[in-house]
């Protein structure tokens, strides 16, 4: 088994315009997803929801602190999961079920600390 990060990218406007009922549905969808991961034979080892991109603060070389995200794009990273999966295909199958209706997900393998190249 290998570890993969599922990075959730969505257009922040998708949530800003969502009525409160919609929020409850999103939480439900994530709860369903966490169950589906084990049904698919994978397991979740971590995850988190990030506060909106308006709360981002960026530190650059020399210690400069600025308001806003570093990565400038229409879709912002709004959350992530870390999953154990057999291989990339397995991880992508899991990723396909991850709720991200306002955009999509990126699946990236994680560097295994025990085989870290440094």
């Amino acid at each position: 088994m290998s570890q993969y990060a599922i990075l959730i990218y969505e257009d922040p406007a998708f949530y800003e315009t969502m009525p409160p009922e919609g929020w409850a549905a999103v939480v439900d969808a994530h709860n369903t997803f966490t169950k589906q991961v084990s049904e698919l034979g994978g397991s979740l080892t971590g995850g988190g929801a990030l506060a909106p991109v308006t709360t981002a603060t960026t530190i650059k070389g020399g210690g400069t602190v600025t308001d806003g995200p570093f990565v400038q794009s229409k879709e912002a990273l709004l959350g992530y999961y870390v999953v154990e999966a057999r291989d990339l295909d397995h991880a992508v199958d899991i990723g396909k079920l991850c709720p991200a209706n306002g955009g999509g997900v990126e699946v990236r393998p994680i560097v295994n600390p025990s085989t870290n190249p440094f």
Partner: protein, 116 residues
């Protein structure tokens, strides 16, 4: 408060640093994690290079799988770590000592984690 700190780079600017400098700076990241171990939570990951990314895009009837990162931005995320510190200033103070900040194109983005 819990914050995710995202280690990001601009690959086209990274090329300007010498491989020795990059390696030496990376080595010091281990000391950095050790030095701040008390604020590090279990959640965090160093991602493989962005060339290993696969994207699942929604919007159509079926999710579309494609090679490459989701975002077309020049900046890419190389890893992230969730830390638990009293406030943003404490997070900034720790992040300012991140060894890779001395490389061109490197920046760290800090965002609070939502607690449900």
């Amino acid at each position: 408060m819990k914050y995710v700190i995202m280690f990001t780079t601009t690959p086209e600017l990274d090329a300007a640093a010498s491989p020795e400098h990059v390696e030496q700076a990376y080595r010091r990241t281990f000391d950095w994690f050790g030095m701040h171990s008390e604020v590090m939570t279990e959640s965090g990951a160093q991602l493989q290079p962005v060339t290993t990314a696969t994207t699942v895009r929604y919007g159509g009837e079926e999710p579309v799988v494609a090679d490459g990162p989701f975002s077309e931005a020049r900046e890419v995320i190389g890893g992230f770590q969730v830390i638990d510190v009293p406030d943003l200033d404490a997070a900034i103070a720790i992040v300012k000592t991140w060894p890779l900040l001395e490389l061109p194109g490197v920046a760290v983005e800090i965002r609070p984690i939502v607690v449900y």
